[in-house]
Subunit: 257 residues, 2 copies
């Protein structure tokens, strides 16, 4: 498909299923409304979500739920409402931001660590458990109680180990997303209005966020072979530079016209 | 202690405790009477064991027990008896011989192997288990189901791992024996009669056999740091070349005089 029509670009990226509204809103607030004091009006939110394919009633229910969860708050502003992240929602968003927007993997090296099975309290918190006494971690453990060996990028890791690092479904999602992002890179042309660009940007961040937050802080070479995280990161870095974060007041102006 | 008196050399090697008679007899038969058709007379046996410090009644009880276990058999020869290994006893002795007399470690490399904990039947028989899904083996496993990494000689292995490879008590025994063997190397002079030389030789083999058969088929560098297997092997190779295996008929002649 070769198109530069915004709704077709969004459909190409999204696939047949619309994203779940509460999760998508978390992405919108994290991407566009994370700055201190930032607020987004209901009309802008409505138009971005509509462009992505979320119906107004789904958005209303989702906003209600996020308010109830203490993630966002709202205030009347004339005949409409303005929404913003609570302190809690903002802290959570800031926490996830480095992982979502990172252009490089979250760890450079991986270590296979074997702990004394008789000393389960000697185990570290980080990494992925392979069994009761074996982990893969992003850094070697302190001290000399555990055995640790560096898993070099060219190492032969059995499939069952890779599947414990990252679920095969998540790896498949990354492969699917990488294909869509590359298609988008090829078809994206200048000329989108700012709301369309914002919607596309949000959907790109959202699609990756759903994947990357399900993965551990480990380098790509210990993931399942189908994992396409590096391709996703590279495409996203390029696309987000072509779809820079808009000013909320510019979006409000367009939404009002 | 500087001595070349045979009974003092034997005492120096043996320490304060006499070896258990059945186990010592297994060594005597394995070392001196393993050849096809080989037989040893009761007087020779009695004199060797007496030199080592085993009393005649202990020897009689032990011979009875080994006969009952099917390890040895006996036949009247004039006014005395001759003893020999049964087919079973000989097979068992031959089985242990390469390990006891080896001048080099039983494996050149060690591998840390991590098996899929969900596939316990994929585990190999060899090596030492560290936990339900982790082993140290002397060779890498077949196929690509397990993860394996070579444990190089300079690798840092935690103490608890080394203790699973070889019990600390066994490692301490090797350290104690190495000291005794080095003392023996220093004090041994030519001039022992053949029965005395045979008794000393048997006690050397026996002391090492009690240790080496409690250890796995793994290289020395994964053993506890107190392990002195290499020093024992080197001293034993030297001592056994200075105390070569005697002809049984020569021993019988001396015993009869």
């Amino acid at each position: 498909m070769a198109t530069s029509n915004p709704s077709e670009l969004i459909a190409m990226l999204r696939g047949s299923e619309s994203p779940r509204a509460p999760s998508l809103l978390v992405t919108v607030f994290g991407d566009l409304v994370q700055g201190e004091g930032a607020r987004i009006g209901a009309p802008v939110l409505g138009q971005i979500l509509e462009l992505i394919g979320v119906r107004p009633d789904s958005m209303r229910v989702a906003l209600h739920r996020l308010r109830k969860d203490g993630w966002i708050a709202s205030e009347r502003a004339g005949r409409s409402s303005e929404y913003y992240l609570t302190e809690f929602g903002r802290a959570e968003s800031m926490d996830a931001t480095p992982r979502i927007y990172a252009s490089s993997p979250p760890a450079e090296s991986a270590w296979l660590v074997v702990f004394d099975p008789a000393q389960s309290n000697a185990q570290t918190e980080d990494g992925v458990s392979l069994s009761g006494s074996v982990k893969i971690t992003g850094s070697p453990p302190d001290g000399d109680i555990a055995f640790a060996t560096c898993l070099e990028p060219d190492i032969a890791l059995p499939d069952w180990m890779r599947r414990k690092v990252c679920e095969p479904e998540v790896a498949e999602m990354s492969k699917d997303l990488a294909g869509r992002l590359i298609g988008l890179q090829r078809n994206l042309r200048p000329g989108l209005n700012r709301l369309e660009a914002a919607a596309l940007r949000v959907l790109i961040v959202h699609s990756w966020r759903r994947i990357v937050l399900k993965t551990p802080l480990l380098p790509d070479h210990v993931f399942p072979v189908s994992w396409q995280g590096p391709a996703c990161r590279a495409a996203i870095a390029d696309l987000l530079s072509r779809l820079p974060k808009p000013e909320l007041r510019d979006l409000a102006k367009i939404a009002a016209t």
